[in-house]
């Protein structure tokens, strides 16, 4: 039994940690969020240069190895800095989907550009009424000669405002909830018939609702076999759920650390508030939550790196996301409460960690959804 990182993983952690610590302070982050693009192109190039954008990809695809533990290492450190750059949308989700479904030619054309930092991607899968069920797809792709015509709308398309290309999940056959008949397409973000309604999310990330109105796509831009994209999509969204779980343990550790520091320095009634036993116990409980969340994320990452069945892997991720979800709710709320009024202001970073963990809870299946999924698997 060994829970320590390999030398390579240790180096990866050190390099991300150093970047976050020395170049990603809260004010820098705020400036990036308020910039036009909503992420730093300069940092994105740096990510590429340091090899971080290769982390989600297998060695045969030219990547670092693509293990879930590697991904966890990077995401935990990103969580500490609340890194806003679209690593998740471009590399983990979209890159991951291409890695799973793409032909050699598609990988060649797209993945090297992702790893070099020259291509931004977004995956359009969720719909207004699909909630967290990935098989609920109302957007259609109708065959027309050797092309497809895509119609429908997608919501919460992360990174869509900056994306050069969109991966669109659409139904080529079957009824709305059928598991078969779901296909994935590569669509140029500027293609005729694509329109975006862009926004900034509560956590500062950019996203859009994207509408497809008779968008023509050639059969060569289909990812994988017609009608067979769902399993890959599910596996990738689970990987994303694990990734944000790891991000959350980084963010929660910061929330705990900041709360403890504040309790040691904030004086009321003539003493540091951290001397009150009632508050000490609450911080102890936050610590327990952080440790259990970390443990369950490690469990799931290790499971994803085995050759277990897809059901076993899904169940491990469901457990992790549900348990981390519960931890995030508690740690986030308690960090705010123990800080008092200052933590409900925009000024202090604590509220922003709270917003990010709340967002993570709502992404890729919220706690109740994952609980139900765990029970059914």
């Amino acid at each position: 039994m060994d829970f320590s990182y390999s030398d390579e993983q240790q180096m990866l952690q050190d390099s991300v940690q150093k970047f976050v610590y020395s170049q990603y302070d809260f004010d820098t982050r705020r400036k990036i969020i308020n910039s036009d693009a909503g992420y730093s192109a300069e940092y994105w190039s740096l990510f590429a240069e340091l090899g971080w954008l290769t982390v989600p990809f297998s060695e045969e695809d030219g990547g670092f190895g693509g293990s879930a533990v590697d991904l966890m290492v990077v995401m935990e450190e990103f969580g500490k800095g609340m890194v806003i750059e679209p690593f998740l949308a471009t590399a983990v989700i979209s890159g991951g989907l291409i890695g799973k479904l793409g032909s050699a030619a598609q990988k060649e054309a797209l993945l090297s550009a992702v790893m070099e930092g020259s291509l931004q991607l977004a995956t359009a899968y969720a719909e207004t009424d699909s909630r967290y069920n990935l098989a609920s797809v109302g957007t259609t792709a109708r065959k027309q000669g050797d092309s497809y015509l895509i119609n429908g709308s997608k919501v919460l398309v992360l990174n869509a405002p900056s994306a050069d290309k969109l991966l669109v999940i659409a139904r080529t056959s079957g009824d709305k909830f059928d598991r078969d008949g779901i296909s994935a397409f590569i669509v140029d973000a500027s293609a005729t018939g694509v329109s975006k309604n862009s926004y900034t999310a509560v956590d500062g990330h950019r996203a859009a609702e994207v509408h497809f109105n008779n968008v023509l796509v050639s059969a060569g831009d289909m990812l994988g076999a017609e009608g067979g994209a769902l399993a890959a999509l599910e596996a990738i969204i689970d990987r994303a759920a694990l990734a944000v779980g790891a991000e959350a343990i980084g963010a929660m550790d910061c929330l705990l650390k900041k709360t403890v520091e504040y309790a040691k320095t904030r004086k009321q009634f003539g003493v540091a508030i951290g001397t009150f036993q009632a508050l000490q116990h609450r911080m102890s409980e936050m610590f327990i939550e952080c440790q259990l969340a970390r443990s369950v994320v490690i469990m799931a990452a290790m499971m994803l790196d085995t050759d277990g069945s897809s059901a076993e892997k899904a169940k491990a991720v469901a457990a992790a996301k549900a348990r981390v979800g519960r931890a995030m709710r508690k740690v986030g709320q308690e960090a705010v409460q123990l800080h008092g009024g200052i933590a409900v202001t925009d000024e202090l970073d604590v509220g922003h960690y709270f917003k990010r963990v709340t967002t993570i809870e709502n992404l890729f299946g919220n706690t109740d959804y994952q609980l139900a999924r765990f029970a059914s698997l």
Partner: protein, 399 residues
Amino acid sequence: MNADFTAEDLKFQKEVQDFLKAEFPQDIKHKVDNGIRLEKDDFVRWQKILYKRGWVAPNWPEEYGGTGWTPTQKYIFAMEMGLYGAMAPVAFGVNMVAPVIYTFGNEEQKKRFLPDILESNVWWCQGYSEPNAGSDLASLKTTATRDGDHYVVNGTKTWTTLGQHADWIFCLVRTDITAKKQEGISFLLIDMKTPGIKVSPIYLLDDEPEVNEVHFDNVRVPVENLIGEENQGWTYAKVLLTHERTNIAQVPNSKLKLRKLRDLAEKTPDGFGGNLLNDPVFSRKLAEVEIQVLALEFAELRTLAAVSVGKAPGPESSILKIVGTEATQFIDELYMEVAGYHSLPHVPAQFAEGFSGERIGTGSLVNSSNVYFNNRKKSIYGGSNEIQKNIISKAVLGL
């Protein structure tokens, strides 16, 4: 034991309902129903309508403009207002400073301030908390030093809700820096137009400038603005706080929110062809908070009944603050859960009057995480819930 309404009570209830239907402005109701931000004018306009009817201040003594209602009538009024979505008058004037003025102020002060509060001609804000005096309010450091016919005020107040609209501020200030901390505090009324006052907005997690810091730099305040006696301000403020804790349960508001939530859950697809209200996990959580609000309502009624036979609301009212705010916050969580990922866009422009662009998300649910973030303040303000628990431990349980 009897919690039924009398025939007269029922008649009164109908009267309130009819009044609200006829008089609560349609445009304001539209805003409330759709979660659109309310402006200062909305509050002023609505209070002036209540004023015409004589219904602004049910808790005031009749001689100053109170309604003379029984506790049951007050309860019915608050409930019907809340269930209809009609705002209660902004608390700082009507419920917070006015009782101090009519209880501890002199005749001159009563004549000068109370009518304008009732008619909403003057907007009041509160100057209690300071950057280093939060839960430990009595450690406040803003000073008022006597200089002839004036006090000279220096210091900083914070968390001043809606202070940007205010004409006047009521402050706790230190008039004796040598006395023990509760004993050197006075209650002072200050015109916000006085030179030396600076208001700076504080943006909360929903990006709205709802609260402010108010800075006092050698602000000269006439001594006739002192309420009661010098160095007795803490006593006055404390009396006010226990009286105020009754409305803090926010039962009518929670009931309205629960009713809407049930409706929204029924309209929200679960992603598998059903709706969320039929989801056993969600419906249990909804039931849990409905039951909590029901228990809270009866706890509040018991407090009201005690008041009606002449008992002052005691430290038990801390229960109402704790449970009331936690219930509201839990309801906010459920709204966010119903919204799912539709709670994530931050689109404040959609909640401003007259927005005409393409909307993102599903109706008002898109604002649900912002509401959740903002309402985390509820367990912090008005004496944090931890302070309320201290009150229960000490004053009720004798620990």
